[in-house]
C-alpha cells in the first residue's frame, strides 16, 4: 500500500433504485479492491441524497406502478442483499468520498440541510469532477 492508490470516479446522475444499487456496489467493490473512489451525485441522483430518500427511486424498467419494485425488494430481502442505506454507510466507512453537485442544489432548490450531510464529503461543480476524472483509471456515468 506504499504506492498511490488507483482512483475511480462515478457520476450518479440517475435516481433510479436499481441504478443506485449498481453505483454503490461498484463503489464499495472498488474501495475493497484498494482503489480510491469519489461518487458525484447530480440531478436525479442528488435527489436520493435528501433525507429519507435513498431507496425511494423507481425501477429504471418494469417499475409497474411500484409492483416491480416491490417484487425486486422482496427477492433482494430473500437473497440477503444489503440495503442501500447499509451500502452507503459501508462506502463512507471504507473511506469513499460523496460529493454533491451545487448547481443541481441551486436549480432544484435543495438546501444543505435537506441533504444527508452526515455522508457528504463536499459540495462542488464540474471542475472538481474533471480534475479527479483526469487522475482516474476508470470513470463511470450512471
Amino acid at each position: 500500500m506504499k504506492k498511490m492508490n488507483e482512483k475511480m470516479t462515478i457520476i450518479v446522475h440517475s435516481g433510479d433504485f436499481d441504478k443506485l444499487y449498481s453505483a454503490l456496489i461498484i463503489g464499495n467493490g472498488s474501495l475493497a479492491m484498494g482503489m480510491d473512489v469519489s461518487m458525484y451525485f447530480t440531478f436525479f441522483g442528488l435527489q436520493r441524497l435528501k433525507k429519507n430518500q435513498l431507496d425511494k427511486g423507481k425501477l429504471s424498467r418494469m417499475h409497474l406502478l411500484g409492483f416491480g419494485k416491490w417484487m425486486i425488494k422482496r427477492k433482494m430481502k430473500k437473497a440477503n442483499v444489503r440495503s442501500l442505506d447499509g451500502l452507503l454507510s459501508d462506502f463512507v466507512e471504507l473511506g469513499g468520498k460523496i460529493l454533491a453537485c451545487d448547481m443541481t442544489m441551486e436549480i432544484m432548490g435543495i438546501k444543505k440541510e435537506d441533504l444527508r450531510q452526515d455522508v457528504i464529503t463536499d459540495y462542488c461543480s464540474v471542475g472538481t469532477y474533471v480534475k479527479e476524472a483526469k487522475e482516474s483509471v476508470t470513470t463511470l456515468f450512471i
Binding site: 500500500m1 506504499k2 456496489i25 464499495n28 467493490g29 474501495l31 475493497a32 479492491m33 484498494g34 437473497a79 440477503n80 442483499v81 444489503r82 451500502l87 459501508d90 466507512e93 471504507l94 473511506g95
Partner: protein, 81 residues
C-alpha cells in the same frame, strides 16, 4: 468481526452476498495491524475468487483458500513492515 485467542481476526460472511464479503474483508483489513491474520468464512461463490484478487491488489499475503462442502475459508496475513 471477532478476534480469537491467537489474535486471528474472524470475519463471518456466511449467507452474505455481493459485495458484502469483499466489503467486510476490507473493513477488517483496515482495522488490522501488521502481522495480524484475518480469516474470512463465506459461501458466496464469486467472492471466493474475488477476495484473493483484492488481497493481491492490496499487497497482502494470501495464506490459504480452503473449499469445504458448502462454504470456504480464506486466510490473509497483513505483512510486517
Amino acid at each position: 468481526m471477532t478476534t480469537d485467542s491467537n489474535n486471528t481476526i474472524k470475519v463471518d460472511c456466511l449467507g452474505e452476498t455481493c459485495p458484502i464479503p469483499l466489503v467486510e474483508t476490507r473493513k477488517a483489513i483496515r482495522k488490522a495491524s501488521p502481522g495480524d491474520i484475518i480469516e474470512v468464512t463465506g459461501d458466496h461463490g464469486s467472492s471466493m475468487k474475488e477476495i484473493p484478487m483484492a488481497v493481491e491488489a492490496l499487497g497482502l499475503l494470501l495464506l490459504a483458500v480452503e473449499e469445504k462442502d458448502n462454504h470456504w475459508i480464506i486466510r490473509i496475513k497483513i505483512p510486517e513492515k
